[in-house]
């Protein structure tokens, strides 16, 4: 027991020693680790500082380069803007000048329009003058024609001139001065009947025709002037023989010949029967001079025929034959025969009867 207690005390003692050892060990370890930590931290701190310095220098270098580039670019942009501005100013001036001078020249247009107005006035004036001239010309012509007409009328009515004793129609004593017709009558020469211009007929009798002036019959053994005039101026009535020209016969013959030639269809002339043409060969007509054979179709027959196929005829002949042999039967006329046969055979019988009649 005591040994056990001694052992136990030994064990406890050893345990205490170990505990104390451990405690001292861990304390020492702790101290050492802390110191090591400080060392490492100091080292890292140094490294950080160094790295920061390097990075700082590098970043500064890079940034300065970039800044230099930015400055260059900004300068370039500024320059270009300036150039653009100046170019725009130049272009603006140029465009304005060009458009104003060539595209839409306001002053040239204005001058043109003024010139055009002047030209229009000129043209209008000229045309007015021309129209005026034409009008005057036409008036002059009208007046001349009127004057001529009045002159002609005066010449026709020359007998209305007033004489010493007897004042004319146009020179009435109640007038202050003679009528213009009177003056005209005095100045003209009378017109001969043969030289008088033909009076144009105004389409039918005039509306107001004066009644005929009763003419005094002249004294003496004179014939009626109408008769005389009729005899004197009787129109020529040539006979047909006189009227036709001297070559009328030849012309008519020519005409006939031409007419013949024109309307003739056959070139050879139809000669009347005479000895000279006795031996003339007879010319067949075109219809008959065909190189092909003249077929019987159209003249001998004109219907298709197939005699073998037809049954009706045999039947007819057969029935007729029978009726003859038969003692009690009489030979009917074909009509009765036809009536004896049926409807269908009647048509065939009729055809063969007509055909036999026709051929």
């Amino acid at each position: 027991m005591a040994r056990l207690e001694w052992l136990q005390r030994q064990i406890e003692g050893i345990k205490e020693e170990h505990v104390i050892e451990n405690r001292e060990h861990s304390a020492a370890v702790r101290l050492q680790s802390w110191f090591r930590g400080c060392q490492v931290r100091a080292r890292l701190r140094l490294l950080h500082r160094k790295a920061t310095i390097i990075q700082k220098v590098w970043r500064g270098f890079r940034a300065r380069n970039q800044f230099r580039q930015m400055v260059k670019k900004a300068y370039f942009v500024m320059k270009m803007n300036f150039y653009n501005e100046m170019a725009i100013r130049i272009q603006r001036r140029w465009r304005g000048y060009y458009v104003r001078k060539y595209i839409h020249n306001y002053y040239a247009l204005k001058r043109y329009l003024e010139g055009l107005t002047i030209k229009n006035e000129q043209v209008r004036k000229d045309l007015e003058e021309f129209a005026e001239l034409q009008r005057r010309e036409m008036e002059r012509l009208a007046r001349e024609r009127e004057g001529q007409r009045k002159c002609l009328q005066a010449q026709r009515l020359h007998f209305l001139l007033s004489t010493e004793q007897c004042p004319g129609v146009f020179n009435s004593p109640y007038r202050d001065f003679p009528h213009e017709m009177e003056l005209r009558l005095r100045s003209i020469k009378p017109l001969l009947a043969k030289n008088a211009p033909l009076r144009r007929d105004s389409g039918g009798s005039p509306a107001c025709s004066l009644p005929p002036v009763p003419s005094k019959k002249p004294q003496g053994p004179f014939r009626d002037p109408a008769e005389v005039l009729q005899q004197r101026y009787r129109p020529l009535e040539p006979t047909l023989r006189v009227a036709t020209s001297i070559t009328a016969l030849e012309e008519a013959r020519e005409e006939l010949r031409r007419e013949e030639w024109r309307s003739r269809v056959i070139d050879d002339i139809f000669q009347p029967f005479s000895n000279a043409h006795k031996n003339r060969k007879y010319e067949r007509t075109l219809h008959g001079t065909s190189s092909y054979e003249q077929v019987d179709y159209g003249t001998k027959y004109f219907r298709e025929e197939n005699k073998e196929k037809r049954q009706g005829e045999k039947l007819l002949f057969f029935s007729l034959g029978l009726s003859q042999n038969h003692p009690g039967a009489r030979v009917h006329s074909p009509i009765h025969v036809v009536q004896l046969l049926g409807q269908r055979e009647q048509s065939t019988v009729l055809t063969c009867v007509t055909r036999s009649r026709g051929s």
Partner: protein, 517 residues
Amino acid sequence: MSQRQVLQVFEQYQKSRMQFVQTVAELASRPQNIETLQNAGVMSLLRPLLLDVVPTIQQTAALALGRLASYNDDLAEAVVKGEILPQLVYSLAEQNRFYKKAAAFVLRAVAKHSPQLAQAVVDCGALDALVVSLEDFDPGVKEAAAWALDYIACHNGELSQAVVDAGAVPLLVLCIQEPELAVKRIAASALNDIAKHSPELAQTVVDAGAIAHLAQMILNPDAKLKRQVFSALSQISKHSVDLAEMVVEAEVFPAVLTSLKDPDEHVRKNATTLIREIAKHTPELSQMIVNAGGVAAVIDYLGDSRGNVRLSGIMMLGYVAAHSENLAMAVIVSKGVPQLAICLAEETEDHIRSATAWALGQIGRHSPEHARAVAMANVLPRLLAFYMDAQSSDDLQAKAKKALKSILQKCTYVPALEPLLHEAPSNILKHVICQFSKVLLHDSKARRLFVTSGGLKKVQEIKAEPGSLLQEYINSINNCFPEEIVRCRAVCVLLRRKPSYHVSCGTGTVKLLGKQF
């Protein structure tokens, strides 16, 4: 019987034939007798007389046939069916000049009615015979042959081509140079009818050298000849630019302008048609015409004439103005717009009105100055009236609407826009409001006038869908004015007070305007 008695029978028969044919010819010259003649069977009686021995009877029979055939197409068809035409064609080559004239007269009388009859005439081989008689010495024969060719060619292009293929064109150009007026007239008319169908035919006519001779004849004093010449030149120049340029190179200007003052109405009309056909092709040709003073001459012509003949003059102005804005300004400067406004007011025919509306639209569509010139002539209300009138034709309504829209798109002349604001339908109103919104932004006096004249009130009254263009324009107009005025106006509209209140409200707004602006 003695020989003389025998011959007398024949003489009597000949006399009676002659008398019959002469009387029939005379009766056929009056239209009232022709029905009776037709019922009496005159055709079958005249036919054998065409083959008569005596030449005078033949000629008179042909003359009578011609007069009958020219009356109506039944008789012409009877002539064709009676196989008379081959006979005539043959004798056209053979006989003397009187018969040739009569035969050509019959051919022309048959051919003039319809293309089928003309084709029947051509099928008989008439063209060669007619072309041969164009070379005859006698001018009467030439005239008759040219007239027949003219009537054949006038129907359609195929017949004209047949006439050209027969070689008629060089001979017709020779006929134009003849001294006789009648031959010249008919040859010019024939060339006119040939050239009008297609560009190729017109080119054929030009290749034969017709333009130079036609241009020479412009100075001829005869009116009917000038009609035909101008008509022929206009038919040639209407087809293409090259042909028009060739006509211009023949130095027809300025001689054409003097013909615009010719006493004869048709000469003037055809001269204007020629100018129109030349002007419509290119701006250069129009410029040349304007520089020669053609626009002024045509405007004077429009002032002097009345009715249908104005149409070509109006169209010419429209074509010139359509090419470019300088030319349109030239038309305005030559005082074209008042004349066109007068035409619009005076004329009653729808097609002339639509042509005038179109021309005014072409003038006014280029720029605000042009639109102002057109609007100042007081044309817009009239165009609106034509557009709204239910009795105008569709063409007139369409053209008036188009003209109105094209002028309104450029118009900034406020006094002309105001009446439209009150009267226009909604599709036109859109453009009017758009123009107002553009003008009112910048012009303060216009704004004042707009309010006092009741325009702002009218604008408030318009109902528009929100988000549509019209609403945008109305908003922009409302933004030009201060809020109080707009609200005041809106309130007036809503309340619909008596006019005196409106007036006081108006003066109040003017005072406000005076303070604001």
